[in-house]
Amino acid sequence: MKSLEELKRIKEQTLKEMDLRQAKERGKVIIAMGTCGIAAGAKDTLMAIIEELEKADIHDVKVVQSGCMGLCDKEPTVEVSMKDQPAVIYGDVNDANARRIVREHVQGGNVVADLVIKRENI
């Protein structure tokens, strides 16, 4: 370690690893991990979302799990709730759909209409 630049590099790199512990204010993605969800592949959905967020370098959105949302035939279900916007619940979120949701909704700001099963009233 001979310079502040090197120090900064380590900081940036480690911050990514510590990312889960940062306050994430812009929004959160909730994956329903009830028995039904897990059976329908919610684990893969969860990992796909995390991976995709990382790819897109998004660090201000929290990925959390919840229990069953009650829409078992549409599992895996995912709720996206961005700050100051109504929450949206998507159904049948497989790996590919999960990646779409991250890219289009979380990153692009556009609701993925064809996957929506419920929208929160404003």
Binding site: M1, T14, L15, L20, A32, M47, K62, S66
Partner: protein, 594 residues
């Protein structure tokens, strides 16, 4: 890909309450579920809420699980991480609203604190230098090395930082004096001897954020012109030693210690010196002797360590909490530091909250916070619906703050005015069931044991005082004792060689000042108003409550209780040894203790 991080508090209290086994269960369960690659388990330093341990926090949600045991740790994995269901039974229940707290942000114990010294404790992996760097670690050193030593010292002077070891001497002036002192080489010493019973903030910082101290000591070395630092820490802190040693190794590896640090041509290194845990070695001159390998005994000041310290060379000595403030002051500036706290005591202070209070543990609050906020808002009040009586501060060198002063802002100067000291931040809450004579005796007993024995007043005088206190608590006090105690206390204070002896009478003087009536009750009425002093208790049978069950008579080890079945029993006071077993066994509340 990591989707969750489990932060497991590995502070001393959590380790004692089973953190290691809890962690093992978590790791096992993750493996059983095949998610060990997705969920990371990180042990951190102390999270502060020691009576809630072991604590596990799940990120990114920040879910705060408390009192986790080997039996229920598996739920965190199987329910929360696998099924996304919060484990409600492990959440903290806020006692007044009875609401379940999801994150630490919902717990008043945490929300009222201002974490500066403890900012990394419990939120980073203390073994990871990278995590420290990610929290802006070592940037202050980098900044300092671009400043002149005089500028650094000026920032400290402007910040108004005062020594957190107890006396509150302005840190900047100490650095300045050491820088200006003639003599070479100079040394930087960190006092990690933390000897006050109940205080453990220094240990927590060393265990939870060791790099902050290394960074501060390196800055100090640059500022005063020293190339060698010593960390003096007591052998009773094995984990602190282990983590600090590991951190030194990492800091050397990364080039924050060693030669030509950050290409600034500055050399600095740190060695650990382990003390045997004598209280007096927290006194700076005794500590320095101990580092030299000599018997830890204080010497007269002046000369101060700044002029003649380690091996008679100019030496800067500050305590752990003081150092922990330094990097942030360098990074954020003097004004930032002064933005909290009181005018003459800026910044925060870490208190070790203990005793008769709901929430015990480490709390960091701005200087000038009132005792009421500390005890009632953060501490959650007194358990069992009892009344607050006083708070003991400054450990064996301090005194009490009574209920009358609950709303007094606490800082270095205000506490001094009422006869106690800030000390290192031990704060022990006493409720109405505490006997103040007994409390003072306890602390005095501590200093009697810990006196090094060098000077007459401390060695002989505290022992005499202690025996008088014992006599008073045993009901053998007599007229004139209070005056004699006071006279002796004043001479000990006036003529002891070091701070230990000079402050040893404080608990007695302080309790005489505020609770002389309790002393008088012990001496003249042979009564302990709080029913603590065993020899002053009388156990009697209340005739209208006694049903004659004979339980007490059968329990009494000295056969002092007589009475037939279904007849009122009687305690023979001449035989009674006040053991209290009748009081414990009676199911009818018929035994009166007074």
């Amino acid at each position: 890909m990591i989707r969750n991080q489990l932060l497991v508090c590995a502070g001393g209290a959590c380790i004692t309450s089973g953190e290691k086994s809890v962690k093992d269960v978590l790791v096992d369960e993750l493996k059983k579920n095949g998610i060990e690659d997705e969920v990371q388990v990180i042990e951190t330093g102390c999270m502060g809420a020691c009576d809630l341990g072991p604590i596990v926090v799940v990120y990114p949600e920040g879910t705060f699980y408390q009192k986790v045991t080997v039996k229920n740790a598996g739920l965190i994995v199987n329910e929360h991480l696998v099924k996304g269901r919060t484990v409600s039974e492990l959440l903290y229940t806020e006692p007044t609203s009875e609401r379940k707290a999801q994150t630490s942000g919902d717990i008043p114990f945490y929300t009222r604190q201002v974490k500066r010294v403890l900012r990394n404790c419990g939120s980073i992996d203390p073994l990871s230098i990278e995590e420290y760097i990610a929290r802006d670690g070592y940037f202050a050193l980098g900044k300092a090395l671009e400043m002149t030593p005089d500028d650094i010292i000026q920032v400290l002077v402007d910040s108004g930082l005062r020594g957190r070891g107890g006396a509150g001497f302005p840190t900047g002036l100490k650095w300045k004096a050491t820088r200006e002192a003639k003599g070479s080489p100079k040394y930087v010493v960190c006092n990690g001897d933390e000897g006050d019973p109940g205080a453990f903030m220094d240990r927590s910082v060393l265990e939870g954020d060791p790099h902050s101290i290394i960074e501060a000591m390196a800055i100090a070395g640059y500022a005063i012109g020293a190339e060698q630092g010593y960390m003096y820490v007591r052998a009773e802190y094995p984990l602190a030693i282990e983590r600090f040693e590991y951190a030194i190794g990492k800091a050397r590896e990364y080039g924050f210690l060693g030669r030509d640090i950050l290409s600034a041509g500055f050399n600095f290194d740190i060695e650990i010196r382990i003390g045997a845990g004598a209280f007096v070695c927290g006194e700076e001159t005794a500590l320095l002797r101990s580092i030299e390998g000599k018997r830890g005994m204080p010497s007269i000041k002046p000369p101060f360590p700044a002029q003649s310290g380690l091996w008679n060379k100019p030496t800067l000595i500050n305590n752990v909490e003081t150092y922990a403030n330094i990097p942030q002051i360098i990074t954020n500036g003097a004004e930032w530091f002064r933005s909290v706290g009181s005018a003459k005591s800026p910044g925060t202070k870490v208190f070790a909250l203990a005793g008769m209070v709901q929430n015990t543990g480490l709390v960091e609050v701005p200087m000038g916070t009132t005792l009421r906020e500390l005890v009632f808002d953060i501490g959650g009040g007194i358990p069992g619906g009892k009344k607050f009586k006083a708070a003991q501060t400054g450990g064996p060198s301090g005194g009490v703050i009574t209920a009358d002063y609950l709303d007094m802002p606490i800082d270095f100067d205000t506490v001094k005015e009422i006869g106690t000291i800030m000390g290192s931040g031990g704060l022990i809450v006493l409720d109405e069931s505490s006997c103040m004579v007994d409390v003072a005796k306890f602390y005095l007993g501590f200093t009697v044991d810990e006196s090094c024995g060098k000077c007459t007043p401390c060695r002989e005088g505290t022992r005499q005082m202690y025996q008088m206190m014992e006599r008073i608590c045993d009901g053998k006090g007599h007229d004139g004792d209070i005056e004699k105690l006071t006279k002796l206390a004043n001479v000990i204070r006036d003529t002891s060689l070091c701070g230990l002896g000079q402050s040893a009478p404080n608990p007695v003087l302080s309790t005489i000042r505020f609770y002389e009536d309790e002393y008088r009750a012990h001496i003249y009425e042979k009564k302990c108003p709080s029913h603590v002093c065993k020899h002053l208790l009388t156990y009697t049978v209340t005739s209208d409550k006694c049903v004659g069950c004979t339980a007490c008579a059968r329990q009494c080890p000295v056969h002092a209780i007589t009475g037939e079945v279904k007849k009122i029993h009687l305690i023979d006071q001449s035989k009674c040894t006040k053991c209290g077993s009748c009081y414990e066994i009676c199911r009818f509340g018929a035994i009166r203790k007074e």
